[in-house]
Subunit: 330 residues, 2 copies
């Protein structure tokens, strides 16, 4: 077994596509979610710098997000997509992102079982990742986990959100293509979710299309999509993921969107936005850590003033920022 | 109708307990979620400063969080609590916090209907608030909305999370007491959620206690609580909120926890932590806004370097922070 002591060694093993090193590095990222600012020192930072230096073409991997209400068949669909992508010879990474509610643990375990078909395939990396309730944790960790999977040679990375919550919207920010899944018989939910769906969906999937009401759901979505004025109108694909039905159509829709992204220049814009968000998330985490480490006493004093009604949150924040600015120039 | 043109006037009306001003100020907070940094200028800031200056005893209101898996009866229980608290003569604020998934809109509307009993009671303020998918938005907005409700004279504020997601954990950070609700027949979920529940629950409620399996759920929770080593062991209360059963027991459990908080000094510690978080959230929002406004070009240039594999996220973040530090000292 290889020693993975230093960040450089760990990065080297990741770039050779070793699953153990991939798992280890993503665990380091996940563990740092509690105090991401401190991660800017040490093994993780060293490994990430090495990965960046070794990247021939960063952001090369296609990142496809899968999201939708609980019970709609996200992980069965992910599993189906893995199969067709593997059929093409692509190396596939899967990142299951958990918005970290204390109430979704069960769903996570249940879902993972369905992916065990692929557990022994060396061309597939599957990882789940949670922000463990730390606000901003996913924004910090997800882009870095994508970097690791890309460096390990993944051509396509599927990002699946587990459960329901804030993660959907955050995930849409890191993907090239976002697939929103729905199922028949969620009529009211579709109505309620209209605005949200149109905002983030690049491809719409009606899964469980053998169930009653599938046509009505498709019709409803078609009406919604027809009203959209954006240059890309999300195609609507029907699937029965448990039987692999619609896999080819879904892949074709994903490819069309990818071609659109490249032709329109949107691909570069999305990647640039991702890079910006990634830098900003690391910078903010670093600042938050600095608040605690260097300015904990100052923050305590300001909090006491706030409790005593001797300041307001905005003025206190300005005082804190002035202290941070004075500190960083030293 | 009163003019509410300036922040000072708006704050004055809030402190006189005018529902329209309360709604208006919370809307300003919610609207600023998209760019909270910019909220540090203008009407909102002025109003919040005025509220802080006018507060006799900040953080005086008891803040009680209600959370739990979807369908467990959170808003029926909230409604029951409003009734018993009103019976004591308390002024009650309700803040329904939506983790802002595009998929939860329907649940939100459905839930609100059940609270219409209290819509015409001048001693009750009910508001929902969403972070609209902006990461960190709730951490910024929730403490400020609590300030507004407190300034309007609320003695108790119930914070209910809508749907499921990251909000539960974030909300536990702003409450004095967190109530976790469960219902019978969620055996597996309870198992899976063990760690999460014990981490945030101050009081456990088994609602729908007239259903089969209620005793088993209580037994299971009792075992879990028995294993806890913390000085406060969450009491377990059974309720049938639709019939107001268990309301008195729940209120008694809440009062016991409040007494424990005060006696142990934990009340002050929690409030101080809230004040710290509140200042930090405003400061971070301000910094993020500054990144875009003052350092957008710098961030773009760094993002291009990251795309070209000429830097890594940590080094780029350091470069950005150096630019921000240089900017703020000027």
């Amino acid at each position: 077994m290889t020693r993975l002591g230093t960040g450089g060694e760990l990065a080297g093993e990741v770039m050779r596509g070793r699953p153990r090193a991939v798992a280890r590095l993503i665990s380091l990222i996940e563990a740092a979610v509690a105090d991401p600012g401190s991660a800017a020192d040490g093994t993780l930072r060293e490994a990430m710098a090495e990965l960046a230096a070794g990247a021939r073409e960063p952001y090369r991997a296609r990142v496809i997000g899968l999201t939708g209400p609980p019970g709609v068949g996200k992980s069965t669909t992910t599993s189906m997509l893995i199969r067709v992508l593997r059929g093409r010879g692509a190396r596939v990474g899967v990142l299951a992102v958990d918005p970290s509610s204390p109430f979704t643990g069960g769903a996570l375990l249940g879902d993972r079982v369905r992916m065990q078909d692929h557990a022994t395939d060396p061309g597939v990396f599957i990882r789940s990742m949670s922000s463990r309730g730390h606000p901003g944790g996913l924004a910090w960790a997800t882009p870095q986990a994508l970097r690791v999977l890309e460096a390990a040679g993944c051509d396509v990375i599927l990002v699946e959100t587990v459960g329901a919550g804030q993660a959907e919207v955050a995930i849409a920010g890191v993907t090239d293509t976002t697939v929103v899944l729905l199922a028949p018989g969620m009529g009211d939910d579709v109505q309620a979710a209209k605005a949200g769906i149109l905002e983030i969906a690049d491809v719409l999937v009606v899964n469980k299309a053998d169930r009653e009401g599938a046509r009505a759901t498709v019709r409803e979505l078609r009406t919604m999509v027809g009203l959209a004025t954006a240059p890309w109108r999300p195609p609507i694909v029907t699937t029965v993921a448990t039987r692999d039905e619609g896999a080819g159509e879904l892949l074709a829709a994903l490819d069309r969107h990818q071609a659109y992204l490249e032709e329109s220049g949107e691909a570069h814009r999305r990647r640039l936005a991702r890079a910006r968000d990634e830098i900003e998330a690391v910078a903010l985490a670093r600042l938050r850590s600095r608040f605690s480490a260097l300015h904990g006493d100052r923050l305590d004093a300001l909090a006491e003033r706030l409790l005593a009604a001797r300041t307001d949150p905005y003025t206190a924040a300005d005082d804190l920022l002035a202290a941070v600015a004075a500190g960083t120039e030293a």
